[in-house]
């Protein structure tokens, strides 16, 4: 039972990363390999303000805003020239951006782990003398992530902006004819996605994992696997995939070895893609001729 809590706590982070990947994928068909690194970089900029006496919550807000700005700028500068080019080109550019961000972060803030004083206790609750893998921080982590996911879902479903975003992803030409500013929608998609990614990075940095330049690498890989298992097209699939990967890793970790845990994700991905190559939650049929 306690493993389920641990798995869920890890899983919601993967879900957030997966969700941020899906938002970009839906609108621009780019897989953002720098997603984790962008969140990490924004977290560094925001959270180091704690040293200058800014409160924790203001730092969180600052991190997310910086992340969103970074996302918008990335789309305008790095991605925009590559629309219509072979799909390898944006992948290579984002991989390069990942390298730059991680090296820059190490150059500016050193690669030693920083622990951010978290707003909630990390100490696990006990029940009948046994540890339950549930602390105030873990509860906060799960609730915050769920809140963000619901907000994003509501934004896409119930607002005019959400409708425009969905329309320009689904049929760019028709949307443009109907007066939607598609290119602005693409930028907004990147901004939203980067914001979600920054929140995931803030949660990771505030937890026991801490903040260091490569702290999002493994989490990005798991988040990508989650998104791919869900089919890259489906936000619900991304969230479900994240929880699945989180739980699987937690059980491998508990019963075998932490070093084997990354392999668990790959096995899930392979099995899922064998069953449904387009992803478990994707409505699209595969486009083979």
């Amino acid at each position: 039972m306690h493993n389920i809590f641990g798995g869920l706590a890890q899983g919601v982070i993967y879900s957030l990363v997966a969700l941020s990947l899906v938002i970009i994928w839906q609108s621009t068909h780019v897989l953002n390999f720098a997603q984790g690194a962008m969140g990490m970089f924004a977290t560094y900029i925001g959270m180091t303000e704690i040293d200058r006496g800014l409160g924790y919550w203001w730092c969180v807000v600052l991190s997310v805003l910086v992340g969103m700005a970074l996302g918008g700028a990335t789309e305008r500068v790095l991605i925009r020239p590559l629309y219509g080019k072979p799909e390898i080109n944006p992948i290579v550019v984002m991989v390069g951006f990942l390298g730059v961000l991680e090296a820059l972060a190490a150059a500016i803030w050193t690669s030693t782990t920083r622990n951010i004083t978290e707003p909630f206790s990390q100490i696990y609750y006990q029940s009948h003398g046994h540890l339950v893998f549930l602390s105030p921080f873990v509860i906060f982590q799960i609730l915050l992530a769920m809140g963000i996911m619901l907000t994003i879902a509501a934004l896409f479903r119930f607002t005019k902006l959400g409708l425009q975003l969905r329309a320009s992803a689904l049929a760019p030409e028709v949307s443009r004819l109907l007066g939607v500013r598609v290119s602005r929608m693409l930028t907004i998609g990147w901004i939203l996605s980067a914001g979600v990614g920054a929140i995931a990075a803030v949660i990771v940095a505030s937890g026991s994992f801490g903040l260091f330049p490569t702290n999002m690498d493994g989490i990005f890989v798991a988040g990508f696997i989650a998104a791919a298992v869900g089919g890259l097209e489906s936000p619900i699939g991304a969230v479900a995939g994240g929880l699945l990967i989180g739980l699987a890793e937690q059980f491998i970790l508990a019963y075998w070895s932490p070093n084997v845990a990354p392999l668990g994700g790959i096995i899930i991905l392979v099995v899922a893609l064998m069953i449904r190559p387009q992803g478990l939650f994707s409505k699209n049929v595969s486009r083979r001729v």
Partner: protein, 357 residues
Amino acid sequence: MSWWTTLIKQETTRSRVLAVTLLTLLTLAITFILPPVADSELAGGAAIAIVILGLSWLIGWSGQISLGNSGFMAVGAYAAGIWAHHHTTTPLLFTFVLAIVAGGLSGLVIAIPSTRLRGPYLAGMTLAFSAAITPLAQNFTSVTGGEGGLFLNSLVTPHWFTNLFSGPNAAIDANAQWTADLAVVVAGVMFFIMANLFHSRVGRAMRLVRDNEVAAELMGVHLSRTRTMAFVIAAAFAGLGGALYSLLEASVRPETFPLTLSITLLTLMVLGGIGTLSGAVLGGIIFSFSATLVAHVNSLTGVNPTSNVGANMQGIIFGVLLIVTMLFAPRGLVSVKNPLRRLFRARPLMRSAKEVH
């Protein structure tokens, strides 16, 4: 493009043998002039060039992207390393074959699910593979030596070679020279094989699959088998490169194969030029002298090389280079026209299809 790639383009085996042999001999001659430190750097570059060549073949010729080549390198290096650690007297050729087979097999395992995937799925899948491989090496400590790795001393300099050298550091100089020559010869052989593969049946089928799947299927090319083949070959090259690199370093350790190595490989490949032999040579050369290059940049900009910024200069430069090349010259350095050569070149009445493209 240099004269020797033009030679290779004449589609005869003899001209390819000639070109690769000439280049290998030329490089061997250079190793006699270079100081020992530069020799060891060149040896590392030759090993990396083999990996880049495989990657170039995979991305340029079959159109599949892989971020897992550091993983394939690790598999080859560990297969060769574990064997060579326990059997120090095994002939090198056997160790290399072992690395090629192990690398190729790991490629096959990854290819079977991966060839169903396209672009980003494939990139992510291979990235996940290379992320999972080093923790695995750290897990089975009794076999792999864990964090510290295994010590290797298979590259023994023969006596007759050492005898050619004199002076106080004769043994060390001879060793640097010998390992560099060995690495260059191995790279030469692999370049020859790849030059032939480019023009083989598999190579032509692969280009067709990349450019037009439907046409390929109509011609009777088996799509997934061809894609799998591309992966296996690229992984075999990476396995050999990784093993050679580890033998040169005299140990096989997890920290040799970090996730960032895949990024470095991709950068070098894109910088040199995707899908070309000369691009892989260029990539290897850039790798050899990247440390010297970065030191130069540090001293030019006045950055202290031991400071944080100095230590991470390489990552920053490589990343920026990768982005800039991809945005402005996506076909790499070999595609950048030499302005001098344009002046002296005779103007052809009709351009070949390749140039227009």
